[in-house]
Every structure is written in C-alpha cells, then in structure tokens.
Symmetry: C2
Subunit: 311 residues, 2 copies
C-alpha cells in the first residue's frame, strides 16, 4: 500500500513555432465529419512531460527524478515487463517524492510533426537490436531465445518489453538536454537516477548544476560529465552501476572504459564517486535493463543504501 499526498503531471520547457504561408487542409478524423483546418499558426514543441508522486510520508528532502534511456519513456520505471513493481514504486515506498520524465520527443511529451524543425527521421529499435545492445544473449542465439547463462532479464517478457519501445531521432540530443534541465529547474534540488542515454542527457548537466543535483545514480550511462566545465564537484556524489556480460561486447567495452575513467576523474576532482560493478560485487547476470531485471529489487536495495548513507 502506498499513501500519496499528491500525484499528477506537468510539461516543462519547449519553444513556440509559428507556421505561415501553407494552404488550408481538409481534415477528416472521424468518418462522416470533416473540417477545413488552417495549418498556419502557433505550435509549442520540444516540451518534456513529468509525472510526479509525492508520498504521504516523505522521508527525504530531495525528490528523485528518473530519466529513461534512448527509444524509451518513463514507463521503463513502472511495472516491469514480467509484471513486478518497478523502481518508481520502490522509490516511493522508500519515502522519496518521485518524478518521472518522458523526455522531449518521447511518450507524453509528444514529438515535432512540423516540417523543417528537426533533422533526419525517426528510427525504432528491433527486438534483435535490443537483444544485442541490451546484452540479453549472443546475437546468434536470438532466434532460439537462449540468453546468456544466468541472465537476470525476464526473457519470457521480451514482447512486453518491446511494446515499451518508441521512435527516436538521432539529432535531438541538445533539445533533450534542455528538456532535462527544464525539469530539474522546475522540480528544484533533487537526486537524479538516469539510465543509458538518460546519462548522456543528464550527467553533464548535473556536473554544471551542483545547486540542483547533489546525488546522481547512473545505470550504464552512454555519456559522462565533462570535468572541464563542471562546478563544485566536491559537493557531489556519483554512483555508476554496470551489469554483466560486458567483456568482449563491441559497444559496451568502450563505455565500461569511459565509466571507470569518469569515476577516476570525478574522484580526482574531489567528488564522492563509486562504481558498482555488479558481477565484480558477486551479482551475476544483469542486462542493460537493470531496473527490469529479475533482481531489480536487490539492485534497488543497493542504490537505496548508497543514497541513505549520503542523504
């Protein structure tokens, strides 16, 4: 049972676009009804959606902001694909006010359907790509559905997981970063928990805004703070969490190297920075989707413990 003082949502950020000089369009969304629509006018684009849950008993002052990864939405943090409570429920139970972003272009933020605003076109991830990139198993074992030995991701729930995938652009990194910053500014000082591309979109902003974020948890981030533009790193606490089966993986080996380098740089700059390498710590089989893995509660416990010791 979770008692909420409040819950709801808001959008932050974005910009206004005015379209002119286009011909009228006859719209028919419902058979038998149509109307002339003037596509010229005013549009708001590049906003980010934030859903929030405030527990009745808030045990910690800073709320948590959960930032999903690429091709995903905030639904990543809800019910796991195999139907267990997700990290949003766990953070609430632990006494944190919990904010979940759908970043710009994803989910309830909407995306820009106006011409000439965003470069390129949207792409979506296949189940085969996910199998490889998220380290569920060897590429050649996708068809048979045979995962890595001891795999923690609930392989039987792969379809439920793939239904969470949403299209993405490769050219919107900057507007997504602006979206995260707008959310941080609206929420105020908070703990950031980010995953994958969510790290790329968040960690550098964290390093430049120690007034907004003192604690950052990065689950297998694909981007890192820039030490050179950082401020007061000594005031900040960083936890990087990495899963299993990275050894020999063409995409993840370099990111693991960057992660350890980032931890070293942050420590040298005076930050409290740690790497939680799950297999090195005796926890085998975690995929890239750590918050959905069968041991998601256990890893949440480690993250929560790390936070408790620092809040």
């Amino acid at each position: 049972m979770i008692s909420l003082k409040d819950f709801g949502s808001f959008h932050v950020g974005g910009r206004r676009v005015k379209i002119s000089g286009q011909p009228t369009q006859t719209m028919s969304f419902t058979p038998g009804t149509s109307y002339d629509a003037d596509p010229n006018g005013t549009y708001l684009i590049e906003q980010a959606y934030v859903q929030y849950y405030i527990p009745e008993e808030q045990k910690y002052d800073p709320p948590v902001l959960l930032v999903h990864g690429g091709g995903m939405t905030g639904s990543n943090w809800e019910t796991t694909p195999d139907g267990r409570p997700g990290w949003i429920q766990r953070f609430l139970e632990a006494g944190f006010a919990t904010y979940v972003i759908d970043n710009v272009e994803r989910g309830r933020s909407g995306w820009c359907a106006l011409p000439d605003q965003w470069e390129g076109s949207a792409v979506i991830r296949s189940q085969e790509q996910a199998w490889i990139l998220f380290r569920f198993g060897r590429p050649e074992d996708f068809e048979a559905g045979t995962p890595f030995p001891g795999m923690q991701f609930p392989i039987d729930a792969q379809d439920a997981f793939a239904r969470q995938f949403v299209p993405r652009w490769t050219t919107t990194t900057d507007v997504m970063k602006v979206g995260v910053l707008a959310a941080l500014e609206r929420i105020g000082p908070c703990v950031v928990v980010c995953h994958s591309q969510g790290g790329e979109l968040t960690l550098d902003t964290v390093a430049r805004h120690p007034d907004l974020v003192r604690h950052a948890v990065a689950l297998e981030p694909s981007g890192f703070p820039n030490i050179e533009t950082a401020q007061r790193l000594a005031d900040q606490h960083w936890l990087f969490v990495m899963g299993d089966n990275i050894e020999g993986h063409a995409f993840w080996m370099p990111l693991m190297a960057k992660t350890t380098a980032s931890v070293d740089s942050l420590q040298n700059a005076g930050s409290d920075a740690s790497l939680l390498d799950l297999p090195q710590s005796g926890f085998d089989g975690n995929s890239h989707m750590i918050m959905m893995d069968r041991n998601s509660d256990m890893v949440f416990g480690l993250v929560n413990q790390w936070l408790r010791e620092r809040l």
Copy 2:
C-alpha cells in the same frame, strides 16, 4: 491523500512486423559512440499503453477506463493545465480503480516509425485550431485571447494545455479501436469515460460488448454507437455530456444533432441513455475540454452522481 493498493502500467494489443532486405545503418545517438544497426528484424507496433491506479478502498466493483480524445494522451485526465487535480484523481478519491489509456500512436504507446505500415503522415494541432475547435472563443478573438463570455476553460493556461498535444494520423482509426478493445478485454468489465475522438474509438465497441461495459460516459464524443450491430442495449447505461457555445458552430452543431439522435436511438432500443446538456442544465461556459474546465470538479460530481445511482 490517496491510498493506493497498487499502481503501474502495461501495454496491450498490437502486432508483430518483420522487416527484411534493408541495408545496415550506422547509428550514432551519443557523440563519440556509434554502432552498426541492422534495421531488419522484428518489431511490435500498434500496442496501447494503460496506466492503472487501484485505491486501497475500492468502493465500486467495475473500474473506470479513461479514453482521451484526438491528438491527446492520458495526460488529459491528470493535473489540469492550470494545476488543479484532474478526473483521474477525482475518480480515485470516489473509490474507483482507475485505468488511463494512451491509445495506439499516442504517448507511451509509441507510434509506428517503420515504412509502409501506416498511410499518410502525422499532423499536429495548432493553438489557433484548438481555440476554434474546442470552443474557447470566436476565431477573430484568438490573437487578443478574449474567450467567450463566462468561459470555463482556464484561458491563461492555454500554453500548458498546448504542451499536451501530440501528433496523430488520420488513417489509424481502426487500429486505435482495436487498441481500446484490447484494453477492455485485459481490464475486464468496466465503466468507460471517453472524450471526443475517444468516443468514436470506444462507443461502438461498447455497444457490441455489453459484457465488458455496462456504463459509458461520453464527453462531447465525435462518434456514436451503431445501433444495428449493437447487442443487449437494454443492459447498458449511457450518459452524454455536452458543453456550451455549440449553437452556430459549424463543426459542433452537426455533432450535437448526432448526439441527441444517438440518445433517442439508444432509448428506443431499451438503453438507459441521457443527455447532460450543461448550459441547458444551468451550467454555462464549458468548453470542449470539460474535464479541464474551471468547473471540472462540479461536472465530475454530476457524472459521479449519475454513476452512483446506477452501480
């Protein structure tokens, strides 16, 4: 304060698509990292996302399913654009388990970015279009921001409202109907509350599935049940709710006529069907966005009363 026994989300429905014969693409989502992605493979498309909240004290057996309108997502039912609790909060407080759909192609359902699956391209609504179609004021008064006299929509929050708009296709009515039915089948017997295009996508399904829906509340629907294909209408209860300033509106006059005709047909077929014409009932100034209007709690009270008398 709201005590929840459970909350979370799931996706329903959709279909599997296999792509083959396409060349490899080099993907770079994060500066400095790239990988070769094979676009051939397996994709799940046309699923619908459902978020649910189960109150600790569930006073009524059937849950409520909230179905948003065109170019919108489930965020329509959350915090209103001017920051008040929305109908989702009110249904929970009233003791209903509450389910909120993001229909196919919208919000956390994702949309189909694969070529050759959906006809046409996505469109998005301008603030000017919304001003006219949602009956905030006369077209010529948009620039000045002067609404109809006594307007209940929080005009000062128009930007916050427009940030909820998401792109839509004009060709996906059928797959969205399938999405709603998949949600109903997963949730089981429930009360449906639908808005605008949500009516077009839902009401006909309701009439064909009296085992799944016995109570339907339609806020200014753009579509109606087909009496000829309906089943056991005598088992069903229908409430249609219409706002103000419809007289003389080129789009809404015909829909008002269809609404009254639908109520008559349902009554003749033995259903318990009523029209709540808000201005006729002494409540002036409601826009099309009834659940966001300043008197949203009052209208919710009328709807809740109607339901209580029938559950």
